[in-house]
Symmetry: C2
Subunit: 320 residues, 2 copies
């Protein structure tokens, strides 16, 4: 079977009976695909359907795609059967390298040659995973963010033996499927989002370990501080806009030295002119023609909408 | 003048003509206070009123308090006049230690003895700021998050010479004013939210410096990944809920070793049993009677509301 055009895909196979495999299954169903889901053991069926049904509530509230139906799900514990007609495979098996290597060895033979196989792995690299696979060119990482049926991010990167065409195809496919694909420049452990989250998490653990904050204080600080802003504006643009006309250049030139303060246990990078320019150029690119007043106004409208939305869901927005 | 009950405060003085002072001014006006704002020079008036007017749009969209009006703002460049009738002082002057020390020396004499003076400082400690003040017992940090008229967090902590009563009063006042006060256990540079943000920021700079990610990729990863979740659930509870029935205990017992992976440049803390228990106990406390299914359902309802809200504000939610 030849690789279909990314927008022409109709049949998806999801591998794995856990929350990530179940979340992907629900998501693809909600976008109107036919989905075959592979479970290691059919005893997992009830728990798996419960995951799909839970996700379905939220997916319905967000709006289902044309023809979306849970009736278009087929379950099987026969791997070869699961992938026999797949036009795309999303693998969310156990996060154990040897298990994934053996799985990709099998998938490499069972899945039609041109069909892209994407792994939900959050901690392994595709170079490692694909090492036993005889057709590694079409294997990529397609890493979602939890919960995978709600958060749009999918980080995409190939391994050493992956073809560029497969990476590009995966980006276009996820885009067509309504996700926000983020193709990485190169293979790095933890990808981008998880690394950022992990840096924050380690600092949180340090603070708790040192008696400087409790988990309750940490969560309250995030929910009532940067959280609502990060839902619609990343940290780079948040600083860019907060510094007014001078933008990121002012931020780095003025606050750069503060990076050297021992505020976090993470050692600050050297603020070279190359790094400064990369940050400034990136923010200017994102700003485009919009002046900072427009950007700030957009930010504020978004935060207002988010705060009002949270207020309706949880009248007492007391965190936790 | 005796310190009024936190809920009885009617007149607030805001010091500083920049975005933080202007943001606080707008916020207090929107909550129905009489506000006197001190500007270093009345030439700043036009820019200052523009800040207030911009904030007013968002504050109106969120809902104004009873009697809220911009007509209840008085501007002055006479510091003694500005604080003469103040029942609370929010100081947002320049972030320069010597400037703040001199300002608190003056305020310590000008402001009636019992009235609480709170600093918006993000990078200095109150112990340093209050060192020239003859009445330091009522001086505290009251650190907002940008934009201060929208984000609810205010981190509160005293200096070495601050009375516990003043810290407690400040917490109750901000609560009455509609903010989310977070009283810190002790004075630490950067407080809690900024430290967490700083850890994330340093990792972002490292990734750009190493060519692993662009600012555009970093912002997209945050907006479409953890952002919408962090708007209503902190990182501790996000991990607690993601691990199902086992919660934070499972997270640390299972993923603890992953902390040692070189994913970020921040060295991981030793995962002692004390740290483990502090994390687990904190999450159990936040969960209360709610089982993880309820918590996950609440999270999902919130994220759906946030995504729908963002979708309405920005139909093409393409980040940046």
């Amino acid at each position: 079977m030849a690789r279909p055009a990314p927008r022409a895909v109709k049949r998806v196979t999801s591998i794995g009976g856990g929350p990530i495999g179940g979340g992907w299954t629900a998501y693809f169903l909600a976008r109107g695909y036919d989905v075959v889901s592979y479970l290691h053991d059919m005893d997992e069926e009830r728990a798996f359907r419960a995951i799909v049904d839970t996700a379905w509530i939220s997916l319905t509230a967000l709006g289902l795609g044309e023809g979306a139906s849970r009736d278009r799900l087929r379950l099987t514990s026969d791997l070869r059967d699961a992938v026999s007609e797949a036009e795309f495979v999303q693998e969310s098996g156990p996060e154990i390298l040897t298990v994934k290597q053996e799985l990709y060895r099998q998938l490499g033979e069972m899945v039609a040659d041109d069909i892209v196989i994407a792994s939900s792995t959050s901690g392994l690299t595709m170079s490692e995973i694909q090492s036993q696979c005889t057709t590694p060119g079409r294997t990529v990482v397609g890493h979602p963010f939890n919960p995978p049926y709600l958060l749009a991010l999918v980080e995409i990167v190939g391994g050493a033996a992956t073809s560029e065409a497969a990476v590009e195809w995966a980006g276009e496919f996820y885009q067509a499927a309504g996700k926000h694909p983020l193709v990485l420049n190169r293979e790095i452990p933890g990808f981008i989002a998880t690394r950022l989250q992990e840096a924050l998490w380690r600092e949180a653990l340090h603070m708790v370990a040192n008696g400087e904050a409790t988990p309750q204080q940490i969560d309250a600080a995030l929910i009532h501080g940067p959280g609502p802003r990060l839902a619609l504006m990343g940290q780079c643009m948040a600083f860019h806009v907060a510094c007014g006309e001078g933008g990121m250049a002012t931020n780095l030139d003025q606050f750069g030295p503060a990076l050297k303060l021992p505020w976090t246990r993470l050692e600050a990078p050297e603020l070279t002119s190359e790094l400064r320019d990369a940050m400034v150029d990136g923010c200017n690119d994102m700003a485009g023609e919009r002046r900072f007043e427009e950007l700030a106004a957009e930010r504020d409208r978004g935060i207002v909408a988010i705060l009002n939305a949270i207020g309706q869901v949880r009248p007492n927005s007391s965190g936790g």
